[in-house]
């Protein structure tokens, strides 16, 4: 068993794993209102903790393709609207086996319309009323429509399997994950201990402690001072400072965060594709990557999912062309264009990118007025209002990106991209069983987005981790949110 798709022991020369020890990992956290409910989690810290305590049916590999976890295998029917999932033999921390009933309970809990758990949107294709357990360890999922990408659904963020009937998690959460619960102080620390009977092999560590440190400098200082062994989410500048110094190990998880400007395609001035194209041409992506991400990333090509499965990397890299941008704007009758660019300190690099883009746009005669918004309500605010905003996205399959953001009925369609043919292509892809044929369809959709879409994707940021030199086995190719990211059952302290 195991995770076939990703090479876990990535670091060459990490040596043979050593058993024992306590790993302390620092994350930015949610403060005193944190909970251990795996379905409630929103933050990276929540995700990492849930991953240690619980398991999902599947998870994402480094290319964001689903890899089986608790699910041993999955089989669709011919119409792709019924999927049978077989569970592997696994047990919860209290010794009870993981059963089909637990899976259905967990999914129904997530989908509870009253509760509005984050993963509910991901489970939307599943008709949970009709789905049923066909055996102790087999579940038949009935889908509302053909869904070729069903494995993405069961690998989605937050779709953890809890025990049938479980409601409270803060006291004594029981999962099937590689670590068992020891103690939890919201906003401060969570202590876990090795689950010797985990189906994927027992972790090397004896104990795992998650500590909360919201300030980046605190995380790096604690790491440098030997108070922790794993610091999540560091600044590019910090990364550069310590990469060569040698005191600690800097790990860059590539392609973790898409950075973009989102243009609302349904309203002036961006309802005119020429204006959108002009904006594509205004951006000097390298300058943005260097300035806003401090060089820690790669240029984007106005498409989501660089390096992921189905990514259209045959499309030529777009570069700045102010002259052409000017003429396109002129054609569109928007020479002295003034737009407001919404930004906020909600994500690293946002305000920087906005400032840099403002200066770039000025060269094409476009006046960009940067407006700082509240970071707490930013995503909601930019969803419907404004015309241009900073946008970013964590890793997810390209299919999920499309279904959540680019269909007419998508719930978080920040570019207001509503295109009948595009929708049709998507549905077509979902009912296509053949992978190559599906890939071709995704390619067509991406080409359309490349020429006239609303996302000006200018870069992909690295996710930077700091680890102690004696921490081994940390995956280096897993974008944030994928299986091997923040995975502590395969690391060890040398």
């Amino acid at each position: 068993s195991g995770s076939p798709a990703t090479g876990t022991a990535s670091g060459k020369g990490d040596g043979t794993p050593r058993r024992g020890g306590r790993l302390r990992a620092a994350f930015a956290g949610g403060g005193a209102s944190e909970t251990l409910d795996p379905h409630l989690g929103n933050l990276f810290a929540d995700a990492a903790r849930s991953k240690a305590l619980f398991d999902k049916l599947a998870d994402y590999g480094a290319d964001l393709a689903a890899v089986p976890r608790l699910a041993e295998k999955w089989e669709p029917n011919a119409g792709l609207d019924r999927w049978t999932v077989t569970l592997r033999q696994a047990e919860f921390h209290d010794g009870k086996p993981v059963t089909a009933a637990d899976v259905l309970y967990s999914y129904r809990r997530i989908a509870d319309p009253e509760k509005a758990y984050r993963a509910r949107a991901s489970l939307e294709p599943v008709d949970l009323k009709a789905s049923r357990a066909t055996g102790e360890r087999t579940v038949e999922f009935v889908l509302k429509r053909p869904t070729a990408e069903f494995p993405n659904v069961i690998a989605a963020f937050g779709t953890y399997i809890v025990q049938d009937g479980a409601t409270a998690f803060d006291r004594d959460p029981v999962g099937s994950g590689p670590f068992r619960f020891v103690s939890f102080t919201p906003g401060r620390s969570t202590v876990l201990r090795r689950n010797d009977t985990h189906w994927d092999g027992a972790p090397h560590l004896d104990e795992l402690e998650f500590v909360v440190a919201n300030e980046e400098s605190a995380r790096i200082n604690a790491l440098l001072g030997g108070q922790i062994e794993y610091a999540h989410e560091l600044n590019p500048a910090t990364g550069r400072a310590h990469e060569k110094a040698g005191g600690i190990e800097i790990v860059r998880l590539r392609n973790s965060a898409m950075q973009a400007f989102a243009m609302k395609t349904d309203r002036p001035p961006f309802d005119d594709p020429r204006v959108r194209e002009a904006f594509f041409l205004i951006a000097d992506r390298q300058e943005l990557v260097d300035g806003a991400l401090s060089g820690a990333g790669e240029q984007g090509n106005d498409l989501f999912g660089k390096g992921y499965e189905y990514y259209a990397d045959e499309l030529p890299q777009r570069t700045q062309d102010i002259g052409r941008a000017r003429s396109l704007l002129k054609q569109a009758g928007a020479q002295d264009l003034k737009v407001t660019l919404d930004t906020s300190s909600v994500a690293a690099g946002f305000t920087e990118a906005a400032g840099i883009f403002r200066d770039q746009a000025a060269r094409a005669g476009v006046t960009v007025d940067v407006r700082m918004g509240s970071k707490d309500s930013y995503w909601k605010d930019i969803l419907d209002s404004g015309t241009l905003c900073c946008y970013r996205s964590g890793a997810m399959p390209i299919e999920s990106h499309i279904s959540q953001r680019l269909l007419t009925d998508s719930t978080t369609n920040a570019t207001k991209w509503q295109d009948k043919t595009f929708d049709t292509l998507y549905q077509q892809a979902q009912s296509t069983k053949d992978r190559t044929a599906r890939a071709a369809l995704y390619g067509r959709m991406q080409r359309q987005l490349y020429t006239e879409g609303g996302f000006l994707v200018w870069g992909f940021g690295d996710w930077i981790l700091g680890t102690a030199r004696n921490l081994r086995g940390v995956a280096r190719e897993a974008p944030a949110n994928t299986l091997d990211w923040a995975r502590f059952d395969k690391v060890w302290l040398a």
Binding site: G31, S217, G373, S374
Partner: protein, 317 residues
């Protein structure tokens, strides 16, 4: 003490009104902030349906005044309500955050008062001369360095290079008192600014007081220099400094966000930051009560001292 007592009683009554005003104001401010707990909860998945469901689950669909009234009713029974985001009682949040905050504040104040006052008096004694200039420049210089920079500097020198103190309080949990070394650096950063403001105000008042005839008189009569300065001259210089001290203690009690973040000390400032970010109004309100009361009490205390230091005020025509 009749007049004084009634004055204190009135101030306390006013204090209750003020605290209520603080709570109302904070409630209004948090309500007026864009987004609510549901929006904050939704984060980068602002699916409108989901937000609506969360809103309903949290009871945010009820009108604001109703929620406030409920909360106030609860408060009258000593119940601070429950957090919207976690569903846990707010009182627990306050209790958890209060320990570290109180500890930091207490240690800081214990050091601040002697150092600030001492430096101020020393500078005043040598007004215009080298010592004065040295003290003034040093305190002002430290004052003008932003907290994070000072914090970073202290950590890199004393924690990372020399290894004298731990760089952060990560992993010490609530047992800060058991590890005094953890407190050294945060307290130093916390001291940096108040020491300057206190010393400057003491210096200003002290220059006048030292030049006053009553000080010369005490000196003339053989009272030892230190006693003249601290027991006879200082009381005349202390009123503004007391107000400043009250503000400092208030600031320390209401959470010192930068230092808490820098050294990972989960105090009230962190609780407030998170609660505001989450729009967790009951928690924010609970904090408002605590902060309001702290401010009222501290201001009252400072005013009492001011009054005591200028005994003629109130009698004068």
């Amino acid at each position: 003490m009749n007049g004084m007592r009634s004055w204190i009683a009135r101030r306390l009554l006013l204090g209750a009104v003020q605290t209520a005003a603080v709570v109302l104001l904070v409630f209004a401010l948090t309500e007026a902030l864009p987004g609510d707990a549901a929006v904050a909860f939704a984060g980068d998945q602002p699916d409108p349906q989901r937000i609506a469901a969360v809103r309903e689950a949290m009871g945010l669909d009820r009108p604001a005044h109703e929620r406030l009234a409920d909360w106030v009713l609860g408060l009258l029974h000593g119940d601070f309500g429950t957090s919207l985001t976690s569903g846990r009682p707010v009182a627990g949040f306050l209790a958890d955050g209060f320990g570290p905050t109180l500890l930091l504040a207490a240690v800081t104040v214990l050091l601040l008062v002697p150092v600030g006052v001492g430096l101020g008096v020393l500078a005043a004694r040598h007004e215009g001369r080298f010592t004065d200039r040295l003290i003034s420049s040093a305190t002002l210089g430290v004052y003008a360095v932003p907290e994070f920079a000072l914090g970073a500097l202290l950590v890199s020198v004393f924690a990372l290079r020399l290894g004298w103190f731990p760089p952060t309080a990560v992993g010490y949990g609530t047992g800060l008192l058991a590890h005094p070394a953890v407190l050294v650096l945060p307290v130093l950063v916390l001291l940096a600014r108040p020491v300057c403001s206190l010393a400057r105000l003491v210096r200003a008042g002290m220059i006048e007081a030292l030049a006053a005839p009553y000080t010369a008189h005490a000196e003339r009569y053989g009272i030892p220099g230190a006693r003249v300065r601290y027991a006879h001259a200082l009381p005349n210089a202390l009123a503004p400094a007391t107000q400043q001290l009250a503000r400092t203690v208030d600031w320390l009690l209401c959470g010192v966000i930068v230092v808490e973040a820098l050294y990972v000390i989960p105090g009230l400032g962190t609780v407030l930051m998170n609660a505001v970010a989450d729009r967790d109004i009951p928690v924010v309100q609970g904090l408002a009560v605590v902060f309001g009361l702290a401010t009222v009490v501290l201001n009252l205390g400072a005013d009492l001292v001011t009054h005591r230091l200028a005994p003629r005020s109130g009698v004068a025509a």
